[in-house]
Symmetry: C2
Subunit: 224 residues, 2 copies
């Protein structure tokens, strides 16, 4: 379902260039639950953004469901991002001027769902992540872990076939973190493919396998 | 050094009010290393902001070094914030338009330090947190864990007597997290008082004791 070959990503800052990914090769099959681990700054979020069609590689290929992503047109990419991929950002990226119910409805708006049905789905998924009593709050009226849970709710609301979660439990206590993991495990049982960056070895154990990224490359075996 | 009695904090959102702290009593002695744990949304960051003189309580007292904080004048509070307290925010709060070297120099600018000496100190502390090769980067040109480390560097650069760290390792892999903990343990050995919110039981073990906050109140014994 996801195949990257020799993926490279170089950030240019004036004259300096930062090689964040140096030739990553990996395959992720439909229905897998893969954890990605590695040191801070090793390239995990960079890879996730490319997989989520939010950024483009400097070199190498990315095949999504057999199609070469770099050859896709803009509207085709946008359609994939909105319908097939749910993305939980490491920095949440919620809209500050909307309450969390409206924040979470956004993917359903893109899907053309009617207002009353969208609101119903938003309430349902926010209750699922334990925020049913915070529907009117804006993101800056919530705790760090509550914002993280809103980001998770928004990523899963339109039932995407692929969920890309970048450190979804980094701001959560053990119990809330376990609740989120159960949600992901349930979705995985229903056939959703999950790729999750995590720093927590306990969380990584819930995945079917772990991919390690060190200094822009995939390494075999456990590191850290 | 820190004493709060019956501390309450209520957030008002239109007609609704959220009681984030419901009567917190605690004492922290000079030179202690205290971990604060508790479920997401339980009031930890709210307490930290009041301790850091960044927010005021709705009721109750806060004595810092024997002085009643709510009776202090604005300039006295600002002086304490800049000279005596280093704060690591859960959301980092870095200035996006400045590179990390300038971001980290800010507390030294308030202290009136000269430019060349400030720059020297900034480089030293950034090297200490492993970012010596990222000095020219702006916060949005860094990974999540790298931003967290810049926030930590900024909090410790002017050698504050009290360090308040709100989940300082939430975005770090185990190794980087241990490096940060060693920095805090070293500072504690030198006499700095450290209050650290964490969700990680391994991190909490490094503290001399753990305070648990559940639903706006301090609870005895382990929870989660
Ligand atoms: N916009 C950018 N410009 C320049 N360099 C960047 C940019 N974004 C990231 N980098 C660099 O690329 C490298 C990889 O960053 P990335 O965010 O992928 O790391 P990560 O593995 O997600 O780290 P963490 O675990 O800390 O979140 C880092 O060394 C970082 O400094
Ligand atoms: N500005 C605000 N307005 C209204 N309610 C708020 C505001 N800030 C926080 N809250 C609420 O106060 C409660 C405590 O928030 P706080 O940020 O202290 O939690 P926390 O213990 O730090 O949680 P986490 O572990 O998720 O970071 C939460 O239930 C939150 O929804
Ligand atoms: Mg990252
Ligand atoms: Mg918090």
């Amino acid at each position: 379902i996801i195949e990257v070959n020799n993926l490279e990503k170089e950030y240019k800052l004036g004259k300096v260039s930062v090689p964040a990914l140096k030739g990553v090769n990996t395959k992720i099959y439909s229905g897998e639950f893969v954890a990605i681990m590695g040191p801070s700054g090793s390239g995990k979020s960079t890879l996730m953004h490319i997989l989520g069609c939010l950024d483009t590689a400097t070199a190498g290929d990315y095949f999504l469901n057999g199609e070469e992503v770099s050859k896709m047109k803009k509207n085709q990419l946008a359609a994939i991002r909105n319908k097939e991929i749910g993305f939980v950002f490491q920095t949440f990226n919620l809209l500050p001027h909307l309450n969390i119910s409206k924040n979470v409805e956004l993917p359903l708006m893109y899907a053309g769902m009617h207002k009353s049905e969208r609101k119903k789905q938003a309430v349902k998924v926010l209750q699922e992540v334990g925020l049913g009593n915070r529907l009117q709050h804006k993101p800056n009226e919530l705790s760090g872990g509550q914002r993280q849970r809103v980001a998770i709710a928004r990523a899963i609301i339109n039932n995407p076939s692929i969920i890309l979660a970048d450190e979804p439990t980094g701001n959560l206590d053990t119990t809330s973190g376990n609740d989120i993991l159960s949600i992901f495990t349930e979705l995985n049982k229903l056939g959703h493919t999950i790729v999750m960056v995590t720093h927590d070895p306990v969380v990584a154990k819930k995945a079917s396998r772990v991919v390690y990224i060190v200094d822009g490359l995939i390494k075999d075996g456990a590191v850290d």
